[in-house]
């Protein structure tokens, strides 16, 4: 029925159809159903393309805002992390200059943090 059968099978079908009234009736039913399905109505919506385009433009706007926010966040994070890392390095250097070592064992002894910070600033001032 869809003209997609190979020639041989089509011939077989035609012969079977001629021979059987039952098959003819079935074919008639199927064609009727197919025609009724084909004729199904559908309704187009007014300003459909405009509505879709508006939604897409809106989406693009939101996406852009999101990307801008993500970029700003990354930039701020980079700056904060760089300065944080620099401070950490400076503290470490100060600690090394005041104590002469970076051994972790030094922390096991009663470690006076206020004194350590004082030493760091003193070292920075001297240099």
């Amino acid at each position: 029925m869809d003209d997609e059968l190979p020639e041989k099978e089509k011939q077989k079908l035609d012969i079977a159809l001629i021979a059987s009234q039952e098959l003819q009736k079935e074919k008639k039913y199927l064609l009727k159903i197919r025609n009724l399905i084909k004729e199904q109505e559908y309704k187009l919506f007014p300003f459909f393309a405009e509505k879709v385009m508006n939604k897409i433009i809106q989406l693009k706007k939101i996406q852009k805002e999101y990307i801008d926010f993500a970029n700003l966040f990354l930039l701020t994070f980079k700056r904060v992390s760089f300065s944080g890392f620099a401070i950490f390095l400076m503290l470490l250097a100060g600690f090394y200059l005041s104590e002469g070592s970076l051994s972790i064992n030094l922390f096991n002894e009663s470690f006076d943090f206020t004194y350590f910070i004082y030493q760091v600033f003193k070292t920075i001032k001297c240099h």
Binding site: D2, E4, E26, Y29, L30, K32, I33, R34, L36, I37, K38, E39, Q40, E41, Y42, K43, L44, F45, F48, A49, K51, V52, M53, K55, I56, I57, L59
Partner: protein, 188 residues
């Protein structure tokens, strides 16, 4: 509105990728009818058809970078429409299950008509439409693509991503189910 006559779909897609949005409007205008037809076939006449059809084109735009020009634009858009419709059917099923809707809707009823003993063609169309809506989604999709949209078996295999034999089996079973459901209405 620019319609780009003489420019084929692939060229239009290239233009959209380059940022020329009117080219997208032209594509929407080209395929709007087909998408609405497919979605109406899958969901029946209801207010969700507009939303799903719009969503189809939005998804199409969002997935343009995935689009390989091997398959036709129409086939690609129809695939999106079918998948979104299937999702909507699943949602409806869940909703019906939660609110335990009774199964009266699953029975085909003759519309009230006292005009004549024979059903009018429009009534018959309505009954056939209802019968299609009562088919399982996997059968419904094949019926919609093959009989409403008029796609070839090969195209249906591409859209549904199933084997040719499965398409033919589903089509045959769907038609059989429809025949059984509609037998009493179609007898002359």
């Amino acid at each position: 509105m620019k319609e780009y006559p003489g420019i084929n779909d692939i060229e239009l897609i290239k233009l959209v990728k380059e940022g020329e949005m009117p080219a997208l409007t032209a594509l929407i205008l080209r395929y709007e009818k087909q998408v609405v037809k497919t979605v109406t076939g899958m969901l029946g006449k209801c207010r969700e058809v507009d939303d799903i059809s719009q969503e189809t084109f939005i998804r199409f735009y969002q997935s343009l970078h995935n689009f390989k020009c091997q398959s036709g634009v129409g086939t690609y858009i129809t695939r999106i429409a079918i998948n979104l419709s299937l999702n909507e059917i699943k949602k409806r099923k869940k909703k019906n299950f939660l609110f335990s809707k009774n199964d009266d809707d699953n029975i085909l009823q003759i519309p009230d008509t006292n005009l004549s003993q024979h059903l009018e063609k429009n009534d018959l169309k309505e009954i056939v439409n209802k019968a299609v809506q009562l088919l399982e989604p996997k059968y419904r999709s094949v019926i919609v693509l093959k009989l409403i949209d008029g796609y070839s078996t090969k195209e249906v295999t591409e859209i549904l991503e199933i084997k040719k034999s499965s398409v033919l089996t589903r089509l045959s079973r769907a038609q059989e189910k429809l025949r059984v459901k509609l037998e009493t209405f179609l007898e002359e």
